[in-house]
Amino acid sequence: MSGAMPATTPDPAPAVRHRSVIRSLLRLWPYVRPVRIRLGLSAAVAVVASCMSLLIPLVLKWMVDGPVHDKDTAGVWLGGGLLLLLGLLEAGLFGVRRWLVARPLAGVEASMRAALYGHLQRLPVDFHDRWASGQLLSRATMDLQILRMFLAFPLVFLVVNGATILIGFAILFAQAWLLGLVLLAPVVPLMIVCSYFETHYALAARTAQDQAGDLATVVEESVLGIRIIKAFGQHRSQAAAFRGQARGLWGTEMRKARLLSDIWAVIMTLPELAIGGALAVGVLQVADHKLSAGTLVAFLSTALALRWPVESIGFLLAMSNEAATAADRYFEAMDTPEADRSGTGDAAAGDGLRMTGVRFRYPDAPDGGPDLLSGVDLHVRPGETMALVGATGSGKTTLTALLPRLHEATGGRITLDGADIAGLPVARVRELLAVAFEEPTLFSASVRENVAMGAGPAGVTEADVERALAVAQCDFVAGLPHGLDTQVGEQGLSLSGGQRQRLALARAVVGRPRFLVLDDPLSALDVQTEALVEAALREVLRETTALVVAHRPSTVLLADRVALLSEGRITAVGTHAELLRDSAEYRHLMSGTADGAREESRAPADAAETDPAPAGAPQADSPLTDLPLERSEA
């Protein structure tokens, strides 16, 4: 499945080539701003501290040329004392520097993560459909860690080491300008090599980060799909995908290492050669008495003290490049605009749910094909329950997703009690309307929390939860180890399919929403439980305007009227009996037989028999409730 991975991640290459490292990193500013003072202070402290280390050789020079030469013991003591003082200062400053930024930078990382999390939650569903989850996760964890490290080290040290090198060179020139010139010789070649390195390394770093994200995706999928993997033995293609991804990452990391090794070699060799040259020249000068031995010692020890700052530039550049690509990746996700949540209107009263000319197509639908929904007109009257019937893949779920604005309709109008949902705040739409999805996704929280979240942030009373559980016939909850406080485990998979579906149903009805959307809500229930749920649900449905996606006649019976979705439109609306009589397609969907003679002879009779009496549906109910076999968990 490795082949499919890149398709789910946006192609990174063009972004990399055109964005400069500095521009990418500058975007971090809003997050760094709150800690700018501490960060600046810490850089200043670091500069001072490394000046301390440059001062130390000067003190040494003074000691060698002065007291030591003159055999002045008091002077030696003074020099020693001075050294100690500088040393203490240096150590203290080192500590202060780290202390200044430790918590603030952890804070920057955390605030960036919280911002990303909050933003992702609010991005439209089709963004999440498009992006592999591992890619999002790797941005929230590994990339942010890289950025924190960058702020803590390379950023400060590029400044500090740059300053150290400048000051160091100033000192060198002051001591012996000729030797200083010799040391300057390698600067130009070094700069050329560095810039070459930078472009190549940035590309490799970006690739590695993307591959790490893909790897996270494969791991996640293989854990979430562990049941399938177990059901089919070792899932070879998944293991192969993992191996492939891991190998790919290996290759990229090796490429990075090769680049890094080259730049290290250059950065180590050139300055060393220059120092060698300076040494030779210096020796000649000392021999000619143009330079004191002390000056040469001091010069060389300064030059050697500069070796680390110079050498460090290689990996500081590498880290900066990685940080820049990490920032790119972070902002790719952050730059995706949130759904337009404009609108301040509110619903009036009493028009029910109305769709007029609603059109929708998925962003990645092939060009040229017809829209999935091509002009849906539907009116669900206030208090009415409408069943939505259509073949597998006809777009029922898609239609229901438009109502809470999980997807935005590409055309037409949807109104809730007269208010266009596009003009309402999204939160208000979702407050008015509750959904039970066809996949009953639960969260790893207690049963109570899972149900209560249906009422939104406002929260509900214990009585409401009890009522909702009663409607959905969730009496099994009492038998769980900790009752309502039982943790349902990841995705609720420690419950049976029907139990999960009933909890999802309870979650949808708990907040007594004005509008209720149920997507095939009874598919995992046995006939008897289904009947009990339906009986209880009728009470709830009486008070709400509801759209119920249904595949079976038994579910359709919940509804007052039925709408048939076919080829992107509502082709028929009426009672179950009417549609059975008038619509061949409906007959086909409800009976499964071809629209043939046998059915022709049956349909009218059956239709008459099951003519829906919405309030009671006695025909369907009576044989069921008397059955000896009750819900087993009771």
């Binding site: 060698v64 013991t73 030696v76 020693g80 004392g81 050294l83 203490l88 150590a91 780290r98 918590r103 955390a110 993560r113 999390y117 939650q121 999002l136 590994m142 790490a212 790897l215 979430l224 089919f232 033995g233 998944q238 993992f242 990452l249 290996w250 090769r258 090794s261 070699a265 250059v266 180590m268 060393e272 050669l273 120092i275 060698g276 030779a280 210096g282 020796v283 000649l284 031995a293 040469l296 597998t392 893949g393 509750a434 999805f437 996704t441 969260f443 939104g456 099994f476 900790h482 998979l493 399919g497 995992a524 046995d526 006939v527 595949h551 006649p553 499964g592 049956r602 009750e630 819900r631």
Partner: protein, 604 residues
């Protein structure tokens, strides 16, 4: 029903799985062991490289003490020697460094690929029971964040450690040679340094352990939110989630800050010790030079070396830092790797006997089986069941009765608490995994698809199947038409969890996948629940042919399925309460007769 431990004492809750003592060291060693020759090579490279680097000050001392007087005497040999020496050392240190980085990268990347592979394979081999409690987020955290911290240790830490140790040894020896008294004085400073290092190690280990747990908690919340984005949005969980995530994130931030501050504390302590030592030694050395007891050049070299000796202290700190962070991660990974699969592979697998000619499918026997989930009460009280080869058994019953549990036991997702399950007389526990999967395949109640193409999803059970076979499987159950209508047909990417296609279409793909695997025993757990009725009918029609020559266990709430069954089991509270042919049971006027009547009534 109340045997489960109260929340809070479960090691899974705390994210601390028991691991043998020192498991992380053993793990690290086992990872590095295959690379020992490369490790030696890397060490030698660094050894020589350090020799080249450390020769610098020596050459300076030589230049000052010998070359200057020689040049003054008009002899340039010494100077040329020094210059050539410096040139050689410079080149050697660069080239050797390059070689070292490459070898080290090879080692660390090979170790990482091995570690990732081990985590992945081990996670796959662990039973559902484990996964249900560990959660996917933690596993992802182990395979990403924790591996990442080991990557840091290996790619930079290794070099730093070797360099620091080598240069310390080199310089110590050189110092002792240059002047044994000053050298000894330097050694004395190692004592307090050692104390500083040990205390840093102890404290930062605690900090990093906390951080690794906090990271995992953040990841768990993150992945759960993103995986359930539809309900999150529909139920306006954004703000409560922000708050909950903020809390976890804050905990992570604290742990992170604590770990960084430990490092700051160490740096201050060790720097102090080093700088005091430098001042003291220089003072003493200068005093002796002033007294004439020491050559000036020796003091100069000493001073240069001392700076170099203590310079890497920060880098040692960085190494220790990445070591501790990696050790905490290794500990967690070792804990994961130490988990024994709850459903272990047999030590001596018994092959599935060849099917006698003419025997359709495999015979299944449940012998005094009892089963309880680890987190719940007993779901299946003692029961027995014999399904002869080739029989199609329908299992019906109220939701939560234990139908899926029965199926999962037969597919060996779990092992029974008591008793045994046999396939053609061979206990499942003793079957080789490959045989088991040829024998039994299950379509689970949740139709999970992997991201990837439709074809890839169908061929999961038989990766070598040809396109024609894939299409035949899809056609058999009526999935071909919709697949062919997708933008790229069988090569359409269905996206994560199959989100690109509808629920009913996912079920069809899952069904086709099971058919293609061609097992002796096929288990269908609510495999058609999301299909429309014509689709369901088509599948049922197809079953007459596709179930031919297999044993089948079909769990269904829609009793239309039962029409094709030879036998019906009615389950209630984990027990089989009725067992017979559909006709018998309907005539019996028991539970099933009632169910059947209700179902009949619900039809058009």
């Amino acid at each position: 029903m109340t045997t489960a431990a109260p929340p809070g004492v479960d090691p899974f809750d705390q994210d601390v799985l028991p691991a043998p003592r020192n498991a992380q060291m053993i793990l690290l060693r086992s990872l590095l062991h295959p690379h020992r020759s490369r490790l030696w090579l890397a060490t030698v490279l660094l050894l020589v490289q350090q020799a080249a680097v450390q020769a610098g000050p020596l050459l300076v001392a030589y230049a000052i003490d010998h070359a200057i007087p020689a040049v003054r005497d008009g002899r340039h040999g010494a100077l040329i020697a020094v210059a050539c020496g410096y040139l050689g050392c410079g080149l050697a240190s660069g080239i050797l460094q390059r070689a070292f980085i490459r070898v080290a990268a090879l080692i660390s990347q090979d170790v990482l690929i091995e570690l990732r592979g081990r985590i992945f394979r081990h996670a796959q081999s662990l039973s559902l029971d484990f996964h249900e409690r560990y959660t996917s987020g933690r596993l992802i955290s182990r395979a990403t964040s924790d591996v990442e911290s080991i990557r840091e240790l290996l790619s930079d830490g290794l070099e730093e450690l070797i360099e620091v140790v080598l240069s310390a040894v080199y310089i110590s020896v050189l110092l002792l040679i240059l002047d044994w008294r000053l050298g000894l004085a330097t050694m004395v400073s190692y004592g307090p340094l050692y104390v500083a290092i040990r205390s840093f190690q102890r404290r930062s280990m605690v900090a990093y352990r906390k951080r690794s747990t906090a990271t995992a908690a953040v990841i768990v919340k993150f992945t759960e939110t993103m995986n359930g984005i539809r309900p999150v949005k529909a139920f306006r969980r954004e703000e409560p989630n922000d708050a909950a995530f903020g809390e976890l994130n804050h905990r992570h931030e604290r742990a992170n800050g604590d770990a960084i501050l430990e490092m700051a504390r160490y740096v201050v302590g060790s720097r102090l010790i080093a700088n005091i030592a430098i001042a003291a030694i220089v003072l003493w050395g200068a005093y002796r030079v002033a007294q004439g007891g020491l050559a000036l050049g020796v003091l100069a070299a000493f001073v240069l070396y001392l700076r170099r000796l203590y310079d890497p202290i920060d880098r040692l700190g960085m190494f220790l830092n990445s070591y501790q962070s990696a050790a905490a991660s290794l500990e967690k990974i070792a804990g994961l790797l130490a988990q024994e699969p709850g459903v272990p592979e047999p030590a001596r697998p018994v092959p599935l006997p060849e099917r006698p000619a003419g025997q359709p499918g495999r015979a299944v026997v449940f012998e005094d089986v009892r089963f309880a989930y680890r987190t719940g009460g007993e779901v299946l009280p003692v029961f027995g069941l014999r399904v002869p080869a080739g029989q199609t058994v329908a299992v019906v019953g109220a939701t939560g009765a234990g139908k899926s549990t029965l199926a999962k036991l037969l597919a060996r997702f779990y092992d029974p608490t008591d008793g045994r399950i046999m396939l053609d007389g061979v206990p499942l526990r003793e079957l080789a995994p490959a045989d088991l999967r040829r024998g039994v395949v299950m379509v689970t109640q949740e139709s999970f698809l992997f991201s990837g193409t439709v074809a890839e999803n169908i061929t999961i059970g038989r990766p070598d199947a040809s396109r024609a076979e894939v299409e035949a499987a899809a056609k058999a159950i009526g999935a071909h038409d919709f697949i062919a209508a997708l933008p790229d047909g069988y090569d359409t990417d269905v996206r994560k969890r199959g989100g690109r296609i509808s629920a009913g279409q996912r079920q069809l793909v899952a069904f086709a996948r099971a058919l293609l695997a061609d097992p002796g025993v096929l288990i269908l757990d609510e495999a058609t629940s999301s299909l429309d009725i014509p689709g369901e009918r088509a599948v049922q029609h197809a079953m007459h042919t596709v179930l031919h020559g297999r044993t089948a266990v079909i769990i269904a709430h829609r009793l239309s399925t039962v029409e094709i069954a030879d036998r019906v089991l009615v389950m209630r509270d984990g027990r089989i309460v009725e067992d017979g042919t559909p006709e018998e049971l309907i005539a019996d006027s028991g539970h099933f007769a009632g169910l059947h009547q209700a179902w009949q009534d619900s039809l058009v």
